[in-house]
Symmetry: C3
Subunit: 158 residues, 3 copies
């Protein structure tokens, strides 16, 4: 047997434990064809606004010639990545190297670079914050810039 | 103080907010050694069946010579990917290039191609639908086909 | 109309359905510069301890010169991966190949190898266990070892 008062207290406890979700689309404007932008603070803000204390945070490029990845905020490394990606999948607007460019596009290389660097990251949210190692930062990777593109941030948890 | 009726209404509201999950294994049969199959509609159906309005959808290959990735549904690009992956990790059944083929397997290359293209994608579910950019489509990537393989789709949320 | 007893039973049913989460940081000590460690059992233990029956399990490297990936527990394949990654991004402590090494680091190559193999995996938890295909195993991939590093395992679900 239980009284309505006891029930309400039990119920209140669970109110905080129910699932929450929060979704934000960021807009990126990168003036170069290829570049990397640190979006860690934007993601931290979305996590804070979500009110989620324990959960997961998905961050993904919504465009297929762009990436979201986690690595070091070090300009020399970013130069290395650009040179390396250019070797693995060189920019070439002609339709001879990339059949994709037969469609009238010139960004076949960008679809390849994005696969190397990845579409998304999933980050743990613990005690209301991104549960990160000491050097982890979140980057938007642009491989066909000079027009607005979007990044999705979704937090789910309790 | 609260009455049983008020409690019940409060409770009903939370009934909809509790976590749901739904899991489906798709079976893929790709006649070629390497090919890409658009599985976006299959995943959309699983999301609709799940009843989840806000959450995350995981889609992953359950086999280690296959990928799930998101990119463009454009045949020229898919030809480009195949040629590029063949350069990065050529098919070679001999055990000289791939030690893995000393086990009697001939698919060492497929284990490499899968790492470039990735095992899984995590997609946001917003208002009951995949929260996608304009050109995002989900593909199963097969690198050692000609036998049935499985893809896992799991939706969690509320 | 409903009685307090009925409410309590309804409430109890939902107590099991509320979201749970469980977070563990594993510490890795890899004596070689590059090596792969099977951490499947450690992850299985975290999932069992979480009490989650249906949900998602995130496993990620907390360091940016390391990976978590899923593939085969076959030593020949691991040798193949090492040789292949060394071709794609050779170790070279000089600052001429990797600008990153101008910072005094010698691990520019490791930041590239990690991008090929990936930062994280997300695995479905179904009926209280990792929902795996027959050969899926979880590996920690070290590319700049000989010091302690951490792996995050987070399970959310119900």
């Amino acid at each position: 047997m239980t009284s309505p008062d006891a029930l309400f207290m039990l119920t209140s406890g669970r109110l905080e434990a129910r699932m929450k979700s929060h979704t934000v689309h960021l807009t990126m404007n990168v003036p170069a064809r290829m570049d990397f932008v640190n979006i860690t603070r934007d993601v931290e803000r979305v996590v804070a606004d979500s009110g989620v204390k324990e959960g997961l945070c998905l961050v993904n490029a919504m465009h297929i010639t762009a990436s979201v990845f986690i690595n070091d905020d070090e300009p020399g490394l970013h130069e290395d990545y650009k040179r390396w990606l250019e070797q693995l999948a060189p920019f070439d607007p002609s339709p001879s190297r990339y059949h994709h460019n037969r469609t009238g596009e010139d960004n076949g290389d960008a679809h390849h670079k994005r696969q190397v660097m990845g579409r998304e990251v999933v980050v743990a949210v613990t005690k209301g914050e991104l549960d990160f190692g000491p050097w982890e930062r979140i980057f938007y990777g642009e491989f066909d810039g000079r027009r607005p593109k979007r990044v999705l941030v979704k937090v789910i948890g309790e």
